[in-house]
């Protein structure tokens, strides 16, 4: 027989170190997956829009006007961050990646290799969640940068002035990805038809309850994220004024605490689900 390696130690690796090893294993798989290619194309949408705005701005106007008022490029960029990225792309990324963190391995029947190694099962979830975060940030970052450089210089804004808020935007996007990813990881491990439930939550429940006063909006991620938006929004339309009436924005501290609770609780619950659930692979 060919000699094999010396025996490895029999002390179970800790969750954190195991999670980093799963992260290492998963990141490459996730980055080059078909899902990433598809969502990468989706992230080209805001860039295409920014290119169009830039061309229009250069050809026909010297800036953008909303309801007749000159709107600087930094405000347009802020609107795009909120409406396109935070309210659309980040939840989409969260739904598609978060619900499939474990499901992909189950569908590909590769989960067996991970669950028959001396690591806690929740480390698999956490490692893949970390890989999701890095993967989606790497997808979002170039798109946001391109939009920034295309849109901000129009209408009298300067890149230098708008750069510090851009860093805050990146942080907000990362926090949004973390919160939605954790929430949908929980949905993916606990519920049947997680994709549909995730989409209904992100594009049905959240927009609906945010429109109305009351406590229900606290059961959304967007409620906490909106406090982190630092961009000025145009406020002179009837709709925006109406929305402003109902807009209850928590403080930044309360928002961050709320988002931390969402991430912590949902990841903990998802980890518990993975620990206790049996994954029966179809033969």
């Amino acid at each position: 027989m060919t000699e094999v390696a010396p025996r490895t130690p029999h002390t179970a690796p800790r969750t954190v170190s195991s999670a980093f090893r799963i992260f290492d294993l998963s990141l490459g798989q996730m980055l080059w997956s078909r899902r990433s290619v598809f969502l990468g194309v989706l992230l080209g949408g805001p860039v295409a829009l920014a290119v169009a705005l830039r061309v229009i701005s250069a050809m026909y106007t010297s800036g953008f006007r909303i309801n007749g008022a000159m709107t600087p490029g930094s405000t347009i960029f802020g609107m795009m961050i909120w409406l396109l990225y935070i309210r659309f792309i980040v939840p989409i990324l969260g739904v598609f990646y978060g619900t499939s963190l474990i499901a992909d391995e189950v569908d590909d029947k590769t989960i067996t290799y991970l669950f028959t190694r001396p690591i806690p099962r929740r480390a698999v979830l956490i490692g893949k969640y970390l890989a999701y975060l890095v993967c989606t940030i790497l997808l979002v970052l170039p798109s946001v940068m391109l939009v920034f450089f295309l849109v901000v210089p129009t209408g009298g804004s300067t890149v230098a002035e708008a750069f510090p808020p851009l860093l805050a935007d990146f942080a907000m996007l990362a926090i949004g990805l973390a919160a939605y990813g954790a929430l949908f990881a929980f949905v993916g491990t606990r519920l049947k038809r997680p994709l549909i439930i995730g989409l209904v939550f992100a594009f049905g429940w959240e927009p609906a309850v945010l429109l109305f006063p009351g406590y229900l909006k606290r059961l959304t991620v967007a409620y906490y994220l909106q406090a982190l938006v630092k961009h000025e929004m145009p406020q002179d339309s009837a709709v925006s004024m109406l929305l402003q009436v109902f807009r209850e924005v928590p403080s930044v501290g309360a928002s961050l605490a709320g988002l931390a609770v969402i991430v912590g609780l949902t990841l903990w619950a998802a980890g518990r689900a993975v620990e206790s659930r049996e994954y029966i692979l179809e033969q």
Binding site: M1, A5, R7, T8, S18, T110, T112, R121, E278
Partner: protein
């Protein structure tokens, strides 16, 4: 050495469907074959042994400890699953190394351990190729390498010879025997009986969620005495022998072949005793050859599955 696997009234249900039904069995050290047709409960048993499923009822201990939700047990266990699933874009070495790293070893140690395991399964030339480009036999071997790489005490191989060509099959059987000789215990499943037969005489026969028999071929033979036992007797006077056999009620049927009679008996011990006496006396001519196809695992299996 103590038992490798010990189950006590182990059952597993999938909703209304019974996967494994009240199994109490012990598996000793060495190679043990798990035999059964498709759907017999082999996979359920393997998944319970590898801690992928939680028992619905009863207990299962592997290497003396429960396996469900007990990750440190996987230091001592290597599992080669049946399914042909991989991270296709990784090379064989990357894949095995990445999985070994989950055992808590450093990257360089993991590479070294992975390389040794790949050498053991004779796949060195292909270890830098992407798994997606591997043949079925190579994929089987790289799966075995990942099970072996961390040098476990107990290897669980689910249909390991599936898809291998005859030469590789022979090499793999030799490898499995070598691993057993080196002190590893091995549970190997198959639905092809001669594969198991070529590796071990110690088997578990499973069908419809129940262990039909356990032990070596001859012990199993004893267990199935209520089933007909076939004996082939080549003799000078087969018809005279047949007449003698028919005077005993344990003889259930007989037929003639060229210069031979094939007897089915319900009590093999008594039959063999009489036959020995007849051969010794020479009163019904010489008896040249006595063989029992029942000693072939295939026949035992057929009997038990029919039952």
């Amino acid at each position: 050495m103590s038992d490798i696997i010990a189950t006590d009234h182990l059952s597993k249900w999938y909703g209304q469907v019974i996967g494994l039904n009240d199994v109490s069995v012990t598996v000793p050290a060495g190679i043990t074959g798990l035999l059964g047709p498709n759907g017999a409960g082999k996979s359920t048993f393997m998944k319970l042994v590898t801690g992928q499923l939680k028992p619905s009822k009863g207990t299962i201990n592997v290497l003396g400890q429960p396996i469900w939700n007990n990750p440190s047990q996987y230091f001592r266990i290597g599992f080669c699953p049946e399914q042909d699933s991989f991270y296709e874009r990784m090379t064989g070495l990357e894949w095995v190394s990445a999985l070994v790293r989950l055992n808590g070893v450093s990257e360089s140690d993991a590479d070294r351990m992975a390389t040794r395991a790949i050498e053991a399964v004779d796949l060195v030339e292909a270890m830098h190729k992407k798994i997606g480009a591997y043949s079925k036999g190579m994929r089987q071997r790289i799966k075995m390498a990942q099970a072996l790489a961390h040098d476990p005490e107990f290897l669980i191989l689910d249909e390991p010879l599936s898809g291998m060509d005859p030469i590789m099959r022979r090499k793999t059987i030799r490898l499995i025997k070598d691993w057993a000789r080196a002190g590893k215990s091995i549970l190997v499943s198959s639905h092809i009986l001669h594969e198991i037969e070529s590796m071990t005489a110690n088997i578990l026969l499973i069908n419809q969620g129940r262990i039909l028999a356990e032990g070596n071929v001859h012990q199993i033979r004893d267990l199935i005495d209520e089933h007909p036992h076939t004996v082939y007797i080549k003799a000078d006077q087969p018809r005279a022998l047949a007449r003698e056999f028919l005077t005993h009620d344990d003889v259930l049927s007989l037929r003639f072949e060229e210069a031979a009679v094939v007897v089915q008996t319900g009590r093999p011990d008594a039959f063999y005793a009489r036959l020995t006496d007849l051969a010794a006396s020479g009163s019904l001519g010489a008896i040249h050859e006595v063989t029992s196809p029942d000693d072939n695992l295939q026949a035992v299996f057929k009997y038990l599955v029919k039952a």
